[in-house]
Structures are given as structure tokens and as C-alpha cells.
């Protein structure tokens, strides 16, 4: 029972891999497709990595999708106004960081529940994105070519079956972010303290941990990651509109939850989150290739989360 609880998600993941490999032998288990998957999931990977930071403390952030959209809009508007790409990217990241800090202030300084605070800022960020963009998609000549080319480029890995294989830039960013979050959560006193807050906030406070400050910082980092995810998205589609990040929030939370089924006490772990993102990405990729309707896909992904998290609850003590 414990085995199923701990490794059920991994077993399910392997089963999904086997299923798609059998159904799509020519296209699914290829290096090219896998690099494609890493690129398709890179935005979600970055946002989910940021989400993991707050979820370690037992909090969560519903505003990441809106923050991602807003960051994309801000960068696009600046570029449309003739600002250099680096300045646009930097300002967009700062906007994400400040938005996250605002969430953190509401949660830790004012004391509003994260669910309510970030639900409110979710609508606020989204509203601001609509207002500053006039509700329009910013695309075409307004976006410098270099910005859009970044997502298409990558590091050449060689040839495979006569086709050039690149490690996409977006995948590289995702890997760097995962590594950074892994170091932060697993190797530093900061991460240790966040896990202590998630385990028992009062005990952490009485052990001299600056709970309020750490929550503020953690929410800021989540906002920063959301903005990064939004910029990656904007680069990939070479445009920005005020709703393009909206799908990220639910998927990021789902990925972290899928990951928690793999840890000892159900606490979020960054590497488990990575597996969660890949599970969602592989499902999306495989089902699309099998031409499964996207609405059916939604039903399947939702069912998968219920099964994985539900299996985790079975065998746990209940009263």
C-alpha cells in the first residue's frame, strides 16, 4: 500500500510512456519529439517551479497566470514603444517580482488567506493587463524579430536520422530555473526554513524563523517565476495578449500536486514537480498526436489528477 502511494505516480507515468510508444511508434519515442516536449512544457516548468516555492510553506498562488500575461504585455508594450529587448524583459520581470511581493505582503503582513489574497490579485493583474493593452493582442512588427527568434533558436546537439536536433533555448531556461529552485529549496537554510514553516508555522516562528519575511520573499520569487514564464510564452508566439497565461495557473498547481504524491509526507519537492509537469506535458503531446479532442484531453488530465492524488490519500490514516 505504501509502495503504491509513493510510487503510483511514477508507475502511472511509465504506463503512459509505454502506451504512447506502442500507439505512436514512429513519432512519440523519438529524440526530436522529446526535445519538443521539453520546449512545450518549459513555460509551465518555470511557473510550476515558482509555485513549488510557496506550496512548500503550505501556501499557494492563484495569480501566476495573470502575472504571466501581465509580464508579457508589459514587455510587448515597451518593445512596441521602441525600448530595447533587455530593458523590456527586465521591467517585465520586476513587475512580476513586485506583483509577487504584493501577494506576499497581503498574505504575511496583512494576514489574508493566500486563497483569497491571490484570487483578488489574479483579477487585478488580469484587469491591469487588459487596461494597459487596451484588450488587444500585441504582435507583428511591434515585436522585434530577435525576441521571437529567441524561442525558436537553441544549441545544436547534432543530427539524428538526417534531421538537425537543437536543445531549445526555452528548455535551457527551464533547466536553469529548476536547478536554481532545487539549490534554493534543498541546499540552503532558506529552503529548510520554508519546509519548517510548511510543517508547523508556530513552531517555526518560536524557533526564531522570520516567518513574515520569508513568506514575503517566497511569494516574490513565485511572482518572478510567473513573469519569466509569461515572457517565454510571449517569445514563443512572438506576441502578447492579456489572457495568454491563464492556463498556466491550474496546470502549475496540478503539477505540484502530482509531485506531492511522490514525496514521503506529501510535501512538495521540486524534482517531483518536474515529474508532474512532464506527466502533463507527455499526456498533452501524446493525446494531440493521436488527434484526441482537446476537451476530452481536459477530462483525462483532470481524472488523472484525481486518481493520483486520491491514490495517495488511500492508506493514509483517516478518522
Amino acid at each position: 500500500m505504501v509502495f503504491i502511494r509513493r510510487y503510483g505516480t511514477l508507475i502511472g507515468f511509465v504506463a503512459i510512456l509505454v502506451f504512447f510508444s506502442v500507439m505512436l511508434p514512429g513519432t512519440f519515442p523519438t529524440a526530436r519529439n522529446w526535445l519538443n516536449i521539453t520546449q512545450q512544457t518549459s513555460m509551465l516548468m518555470v511557473v510550476a517551479a515558482g509555485m513549488t516555492i510557496v506550496m512548500v510553506m503550505g501556501d499557494f498562488d492563484l495569480s501566476v497566470g495573470s502575472a504571466a500575461s501581465l509580464a508579457g504585455i508589459v514587455a510587448a508594450l515597451m518593445m512596441a514603444a521602441g525600448q530595447p529587448i533587455w530593458a523590456a524583459v527586465a521591467v517585465a520581470l520586476v513587475v512580476g517580482l513586485l506583483g509577487g511581493a504584493f501577494n506576499g505582503a497581503m498574505v504575511s503582513l496583512v494576514g489574508i488567506l493566500p486563497f483569497i489574497a491571490t484570487l483578488a490579485t489574479m483579477t487585478m493583474f488580469s484587469g491591469i493587463a487588459f487596461v494597459v493593452s487596451g484588450g488587444k493582442t500585441i504582435s507583428g512588427r511591434a515585436i522585434p524579430e530577435d525576441f521571437g527568434n529567441f524561442a525558436r533558436a537553441g544549441i545544436p546537439l547534432g543530427e539524428w536520422g538526417g534531421v538537425a536536433i537543437n536543445l531549445p533555448n526555452l528548455s535551457i531556461i527551464a533547466i536553469v530555473v529548476i536547478l536554481a529552485v532545487w539549490i534554493l529549496l534543498e541546499q540552503t537554510t532558506f529552503g529548510r526554513r520554508l519546509y519548517a514553516i510548511g510543517g508547523n508555522m508556530e513552531a517555526a516562528h518560536l524557533s526564531g524563523i522570520a516567518v513574515k519575511r520569508l513568506r514575503l520573499i517566497a511569494f516574490s520569487l513565485t511572482g518572478l517565476a510567473a513573469a519569466a514564464g509569461g515572457l517565454m510564452y510571449a517569445s514563443r508566439v512572438a506576441s502578447a495578449n492579456p489572457v495568454q497565461g491563464s492556463g498556466l495557473m491550474l496546470n502549475a498547481i496540478a503539477a505540484v500536486f502530482l509531485g506531492t504524491t511522490m514525496s514521503r509526507h506529501g510535501e512538495p519537492r521540486i524534482l517531483a514537480t518536474v515529474v508532474g509537469v512532464i506527466v502533463l506535458g507527455v499526456l498533452d503531446n501524446g493525446l494531440t498526436q493521436m488527434s484526441v479532442d482537446s476537451y476530452i484531453r481536459q477530462v483525462l488530465v483532470g481524472a488523472l489528477i484525481l486518481v493520483a492524488v486520491g491514490a495517495g490519500s488511500i492508506g493514509q490514516k483517516r478518522r
Binding site: 519546509y195 508547523n200 508556530e202 513552531a203 518560536l206 526564531g208
Partner: protein, 507 residues
């Protein structure tokens, strides 16, 4: 039904959890009209036995008879029908409901016309239940959540006394009660005994058991070791039976007298719950804080620990002024704290032992204050643990898997890990068994030998008298008296707590 049959007899009770025996042949026989103590260290099998009687846990084998009739207790309902009542610390209460509603929980509310709840009658009956314990300061209509822990316990006890039963099983009922509340409870228990019903009484407080109970059954490692009348046994023999070895003293002796240097001083300390309070503490001294629950003990400790808004007053550690803005500054200044509730305030239950110990010392237990060094932390924790006889698989074991006494040792390990100059302790041995208690007292003595000052808040009066050099009595948020602990008697201390001045007070 033979007239001489015991009220309850549970024989050859065995139970194993995942192959590990919790009970291996325990016997318990309670006669009608007696107060019977169930004794044993944490992990001896007391709670498993009680849970079996309560119908919460089903035994592997058991021969249970009530008044000589074999019964099987399949559920909490059948335990109730058999006339068994259970009062334990983790009793289900709903803080947002009224006292009366909590008393009647699980029972049928009195009705009007069969439909509407007769609130007046409900409150009247609840008041009667409270009256039985002579509780006049609790209004049955007030929300349970507005009461202190001790008062909540009294409400639970009154609820169990609402209808007559054969056997009342009480698990550490006095843990959160003041001395006076305990005395009231004991009076009711003696009434119950006089009426022919019985009480099965579980407590780590031996003095209570010796004065209150008629008989005792001692469990050790899942077996009943001995059973008999308490008049034939001494305090020390009982302890020896429980832990399987002789202990010379309940409280380890101080190795040296307190030094003359002052380690901590507070002058006119005022917080929202604390009236102007001044006192000082010497190196190596243990200052006890006694008083009725809610007299400002916690507020005083929290003020010193930087977890309260200080409106005025000054403090000094050694010769330097001490201004704690937060628990973080307190730890950094060498002030350590063992909180009242170890699960809620002391430990991160689902994290390993070593992480809990180093949590307050991560700056020194890491590289450059930033990079974790788990191996070094584990070695550090293992050394500390061995020193205080912590029973665990290893420093990587999760705290949740440890027994209460060992969990408390982890809290102490965290407190002493930074060599504190001032140690703040609140109820340091609550729910801790005899063997672990002695270990914890030894840890405290070890710190005073090194020159640390200790402030000890406790509702366990023998503990205060046995350990402290001086005892400060708090009433209504201020220290009213400070007395020398040497030669002090328990009833003197009780009188002091109530502000009575009837003779006897130590000079």
C-alpha cells in the same frame, strides 16, 4: 452473575500493530467501587488497552467480562452501552459551540414538542452537570472556545458525569488543571466510588495516584507486571516496577549552589497581559513560576522571549541590556525556550530529529549561514541525543514516530544546542513518563551547572518544589510573592497561589 464478580475484568489481552506487539498478555481487573490506577511508562501499552476498552481498537485476543458476563466491545457505541465512559485529552470538542452543546454532544438534546430544541432545559441540565464539580465560573451558554484549557477539560469531565455509568476511564485528566481544580475532580471521583461505580485512572503524576487511588495495575512492555493495593507499596517501588529499574531520587540533586552573578534581570516589564513585573535571576539558579492557570505565566515567558508587544520596562542579560524584538533575537542572545505544547509549538512533526534540533541554530549549523551541511547536523544531533538518552533509530528519524518523552527530549535538544544563558521552560514534563522525566530534569541540572539561569513554569507542584531554588507566585498578571523552595510544602504553595495567608507560609 456472581455477586463477587469484578466490575471489569480484561485478561490475556494481546494486540500487535504491523507485527510489533503493543500488548502481549495484559490483565486488568477492576472491582466495583474502587479507583484503580493504570500505570506504566509511555509505550507500555496503557493507551492501547484503553482504546480496546473504548472500542476504538480491536484486540487480537482478549477475554473481557463486565460483572462476570463475557462481552465484546466492537465500537464506541457498544462501550457506551456497557456503561463505560472515557475522558482523555484529545477528546472531541467543538470550540464554536456552547459549553452546554458540547456537554450534550452525542446525546439527544432535550426537546419541546418533539421537534424544537429546548435550550432552556439544555442549559439547565448542563448547569447541573457543572454543579456536580462545583464549577461556578463557567456559564453553560458561553462558547467553549472562550475557555482556557483547564476549563475545557472540566467541561469534558462534566459531560462524562452527566449520566451514571459503571466505569469512568480517565487519561491524564489533571494535565491541564490547576491544583484546586484537581482537588474538585478528586472529590467527585471519591463520590463516584462511594456510589459503587469505579474509576480507571491513568496519570504520570505519582503523588496524585498515591493519594487518590485504591489499587494499581502496572504495565511494562505490554505486560501487566503487578497489580495490588497501593497501601502496600511505596512511591519508589512503584516507579521501580514501572521502569524496571531502581531510581534513587525523583529529582536529581543540584551539583552546585547558584552563583552570585546575575544572569538575567527584568525591571517593570509590562505587556498587554502583564502588569509591572520585576525580578532577577542568578547564574545556575532555577526560578519557578507558580500560579493559577492564566495568571500571566505565559505572558511573562513570551515577553522575555520577544514574542509579545512590550509597552514598557527593561531587561538585561548579564551586564548588557537585552531588547528582544522577536524570538529570533532571543535565540541569538542566548535565550532558549521550551514551549508549553510540544506538538503545536515545539516541533515540526513530519521532519527529522536533526532538522528540528538545528532549526533554531541554522546560522551556526550551516556553511556561511546559507549552505546546508546535513551530515554535520546529523552528527551534532546524534551527540546531543545520546547525551540525553534519546531513544530513536537515528537522527534522521521523523519526530512524529517518537514517543512523547522522546519528542520532548528533541525540544530540549533544540533549546540547549546553542549553550543558552537563559532557559525558559513551560510545563517541560507534561505527558512525559517517569524515566524520561528524570532525564529531562538531569538536562536542566546540567545547564545550571554550566551557569545558565532557568525560569520554570509548571503546574506540577512537586516538580517546582523538587527542582527550584526560588518560586515566584503570579496572580492577575504580576508576581506577588517570591519564596525559597527549600522546605516548602505543597499545600503552602497552593495557598500562596490562591493568595491565602493562612499560617504555614514559608518565611
Amino acid at each position: 452473575m456472581a455477586p463477587s464478580a469484578p466490575l471489569l475484568s480484561a485478561t490475556s489481552v494481546t494486540k500487535a500493530y504491523a507485527g510489533i506487539p503493543a500488548l502481549s498478555g495484559a490483565n486488568l481487573v477492576v472491582a466495583p467501587g474502587e479507583i484503580h490506577a493504570l500505570m506504566g511508562e509511555n509505550g507500555a501499552g496503557k493507551s492501547t488497552l484503553i482504546k480496546i476498552l473504548a472500542g476504538v481498537v480491536s484486540p487480537d485476543t482478549a477475554d473481557i467480562k463486565i460483572n462476570g458476563t463475557p462481552v465484546s466491545i466492537e465500537s464506541t457505541k457498544s462501550a457506551y452501552r456497557l456503561g463505560l465512559r472515557f475522558i482523555h485529552q484529545e477528546f472531541n470538542v467543538v470550540p464554536t459551540l456552547s459549553v452546554a452543546e458540547n456537554i450534550f454532544m452525542g446525546r439527544r438534546y432535550p426537546r419541546r414538542a418533539g421537534i424544537f430544541v429546548d435550550w432552556a432545559d439544555l442549559n439547565r441540565q448542563a448547569q447541573r452537570a457543572l454543579d456536580r464539580l462545583s464549577i461556578d465560573h463557567i456559564d453553560p451558554r458561553q462558547n467553549l472556545g472562550t475557555l482556557g484549557l483547564g476549563d475545557q477539560m472540566l467541561v469534558r469531565i462534566s459531560a462524562a458525569l452527566l449520566d451514571d455509568a459503571k466505569l469512568y476511564v480517565m487519561d491524564e485528566p489533571t494535565a491541564a488543571l490547576t491544583a484546586d481544580e484537581s482537588q474538585r475532580l478528586f472529590r467527585v471521583l471519591r463520590e463516584i466510588r462511594a456510589s459503587g461505580s469505579s474509576v480507571l485512572y491513568v496519570s504520570h503524576r505519582l503523588d496524585e495516584v498515591m493519594t487518590l487511588c485504591d489499587k494499581a495495575t502496572v504495565l511494562r512492555d505490554g505486560r501487566s507486571i503487578d497489580s495490588g493495593a497501593l497501601t502496600n507499596i511505596t512511591h519508589d517501588d512503584l516507579v521501580a516496577l514501572m521502569i524496571g529499574r531502581k531510581v534513587e531520587e525523583a529529582y536529581p540533586k543540584a551539583v552546585a549552589a547558584p552563583r552570585d552573578t546575575t544572569v538575567f534581570a527584568a525591571a517593570n516589564l509590562v505587556t498587554p497581559g502583564l502588569k509591572p513585573t520585576s525580578f532577577s535571576l542568578r547564574e545556575g539558579e532555577i526560578l519557578g513560576i507558580a500560579g493559577l492557570s492564566g495568571s500571566g505565566q505565559s505572558e511573562l515567558i513570551r515577553a522575555i522571549f520577544g514574542d509579545a508587544r512590550m509597552t514598557s520596562g527593561t531587561m538585561a542579560l548579564g551586564n548588557a541590556p537585552y531588547v528582544p524584538f522577536s524570538p529570533a533575537t532571543a535565540w541569538q542572545s542566548g535565550v532558549a525556550y521550551v514551549p508549553r505544547e510540544r506538538r503545536a509549538e515545539g516541533l515540526v512533526m513530519r521532519r527529522p530529529i536533526y532538522e528540528n534540533i538545528t532549526l533554531a541554530h541554522l546560522k551556526s549549523q550551516s556553511r556561511a549561514g546559507t549552505w546546508l551541511t546535513p551530515n554535520r547536523e546529523k552528527r551534532f544531533a546524534a551527540e546531543l541525543g545520546a547525551n540525553m538518552r534519546l531513544k530513536a533509530v537515528g537522527p534522521g528519524q521523523d519526530v512524529i514516530e517518537l514517543s512523547g518523552g522522546n519528542q520532548q527530549k528533541v525540544v530540549f535538544a533544540k533549546a540547549v544546542a546553542g549553550d543558552p544563558r537563559l532557559l525558559l521552560l513551560e510545563e517541560p514534563t507534561r505527558g512525559v513518563d517517569v524515566g524520561a522525566k528524570f532525564d529531562i530534569y538531569s538536562i536542566i541540572r546540567e545547564r545550571t551547572a554550566k551557569g545558565a539561569g532557568v525560569i520554570l513554569v509548571s503546574s506540577d507542584l512537586p516538580e517546582l518544589i523538587g527542582l527550584c531554588d526560588r518560586i515566584a507566585i503570579m496572580r492577575d498578571g504580576a508576581i506577588t510573592t517570591v519564596v525559597d523552595a527549600a522546605g516548602l510544602r505543597e499545600d503552602d504553595l497552593v495557598n500562596l497561589c490562591y493568595g491565602r495567608t493562612t499560617g504555614m507560609v514559608a518565611q
